[in-house]
């Protein structure tokens, strides 16, 4: 059994929306957006944890909370036993060297006025200070470019000279520059063509095999999460509705939302094509979540109890959890 690298306990991240200055001053008319609302999960060392859900379900906010790019209001994030939320600036800086992010917007995260070499060297300079020799720095940059299958000549070019897939590789090279233990990949193949996406997935797997990196794989692409991840969680409106080993979640999906989500993925093979469960309507606003079970407004199996009680996450066996009254007895 692998040990937990990151354990999240009852994490809540809320945002506040107000109409103007007065409401900000006095707290009146302030609306609370329950972006992440009591999430607990454990990411195992050396493995890939897939986090899926539709836009607005809070999966990116959860990821950003781990790095404290947004400040959670409650809960614990234990990295190797230390609570990230209690770290001071110095500790946080060390944590952020070991944990990196690959961003969704492959060009947006690269400074257009820096060369690729400067971009990749930046984290190294941050760690080493000004002591590092130019020669050593250049050597490391070339090594990193090689690691992500880019030509060493790339280091003198600017980001706009690269295609989407290559820009994503530059982002990967920067993320692995400090030999991190943990990488959050936020929709790492969005906007890429099929065969380009495949090269990125292969690369990320190779890096995991070589460096033992732990991934948090945030994506709405279920096929990819099924292919890439060992464990996974399905989020809906700020909560985890189902989690467990990926193979269990796909073979014995328990929550009606997971079932609908998986059935909605278009199938290539005729014999695997089952009836798509079409959900009515769209996700409710996280400002005013429904009472009881958050999914009840779209659930085909809704009954009285769903309105009144919030379903707890129940262990269905083998670390497979589901939050639904159909399974809570």
């Amino acid at each position: 059994m692998a040990v937990d690298l990151i354990e999240i306990r009852n994490l809540k991240t809320h945002f506040y929306q107000g109409k103007g200055l007065l409401s900000k001053l006095f707290g009146e008319g302030l609306k609370t957006v329950h972006a992440v609302d009591g999430v607990s999960l454990a990411i195992k060392k050396g493995r890939t944890f897939g986090l899926v859900g539709e836009s607005g379900c809070g999966k990116s906010t959860l990821g950003n909370s781990i790095f404290r790019l947004v400040e959670p209001i409650e809960g614990e994030i234990l990295y190797k036993g230390h609570d990230v939320l209690k770290m001071d600036q110095k500790e946080l800086r060390e944590f952020r060297q070991q944990a990196q992010i690959i961003f969704q917007d492959q060009f947006g995260c690269l400074n257009p006025r820096m060369t690729v070499g400067q971009i990749i060297a930046e984290p190294l300079l941050m760690r080493e200070g000004a002591d590092i020799s130019q020669e050593k720095l250049g050597h490391e940059v070339v090594e990193l470019l090689r690691a992500v299958n880019l030509d060493p000549d790339a280091s003198v070019k600017f980001p706009n000279e690269f295609s989407g897939g290559q820009a994503r590789r530059i982002g990967v090279a920067r993320a692995i520059a400090l030999q991190p233990q943990f990488i959050m990949a936020d929709e790492p193949t969005s906007g890429l063509d099929i065969s380009t996406a495949a090269t990125i997935l292969n690369l990320m797997q190779d890096l995991q095999d070589e460096m033992g990196i732990t991934y948090l794989w945030v994506s709405h692409n279920l096929n990819q999460v099924k292919y890439m991840s060992d464990d996974m969680a399905v989020m809906y409106l700020g909560k985890v509705v189902e989690k467990g080993q990926t193979k269990d979640v796909f073979s014995q999906m328990a929550h009606p939302y997971t079932k609908a989500l998986i059935s909605a993925v278009p199938k290539m093979d005729v014999d695997k094509r089952k009836k798509t469960i079409l959900l009515e309507g769209e996700m409710p606003s996280p400002i005013n979540p429904p009472s009881g079970c958050y999914f009840r407004t779209r659930c085909p199996h809704v009954y009285q109890r769903c309105k009144e009680e919030e379903p707890p996450l129940v262990d269905l066996g083998g670390g497979h959890f589901c939050a639904c009254h159909l399974h809570s007895n």
Partner: protein, 339 residues
Amino acid sequence: MPEPLLEINNLTLDYNLGDRKMRALDRINFSLGKGEVMGVAGESGCGKSTLALAILRLLPRVAEIKRGEVMFNGRNLLTLTEKEMEHEIRGQKITMIFQNPQNALNPVFKIGTQMTDILRVQDKYQSGGARKKNQDFKQQAIERLKLTGIADPEARISNYPFEFSGGMKQRVMIGMALSSGTSLLLADEATTALDVTIEAQINRLIKELAAKYGTSVLYVTHNLGVLAEMADRIMIMYAGRIFEMGKTDTVFAAPRHPYSAALLESLPSRQVRGRRLLAIPGFVPPLDRLPSGCSFHPRCAFAKDICRKEVPPLIEVDEGHWSACLLDQKRGRKKWQWI
């Protein structure tokens, strides 16, 4: 084979950018039957969007149609005057929905106003003068919204686009695009920006409405899974050419072109956890510097000498199944296992 509605013959199109000539469409030949859904797939830059825009003649000025015909209901759209296109074809007989409905709706006008504007224009050219009241158009707009499954259309019609979610905006676009008068719908990555559950809803809606009105659909996307569920037939494009075309299930089950086979092998949905995905070596060539012979040969694992020399024609290799690979046509090789 149903009666053809759209027949594209030998369509060839260049983009002239300064001294660079990019051949974006090269001898495109296919026909689309009445009520048929045809999928167009391929990687970015293969010409699939250009094809859709060429049918409506909505191309930028640098585009030049070198030869070919776009026969729609027996008329060549390329020879119509701009006025005829505007009055009879665009938004009337042929409509289009785009990837980003946000950009297709004007943010400062209400949904209802934008819908009635369209209806008024359609009515003006179709009925030829019999004047309807504003109230009638409004009623018609409400009915269209209802048709696309938007709850409480009477109230929603006075909303602005920002009050609608992405899925609902795409429903509005479909409501404006599909009506009894439309015979061809061009959908260009219509659900790419949406979540899977919403994508499933929208695709179901397009299918239902198309069946209801007998509309043909040309469905352009890079998502092969969506096409598996949506399209009767599919064509795979590469660097401005059609590489393979046939019944969707046949092409996916037994592709006759190595490029189609490669695309299918690079999908994570078809691969078990832990096994490497196929990454096609090299890159899509720039359209002004296409390789000799078959434009795919530098990336093809099976390429032989002949592929560098001859340009493969698109040939019917099996009943209703077309492919443009010389090795298939001349050497009888039919299976392509990349890894």
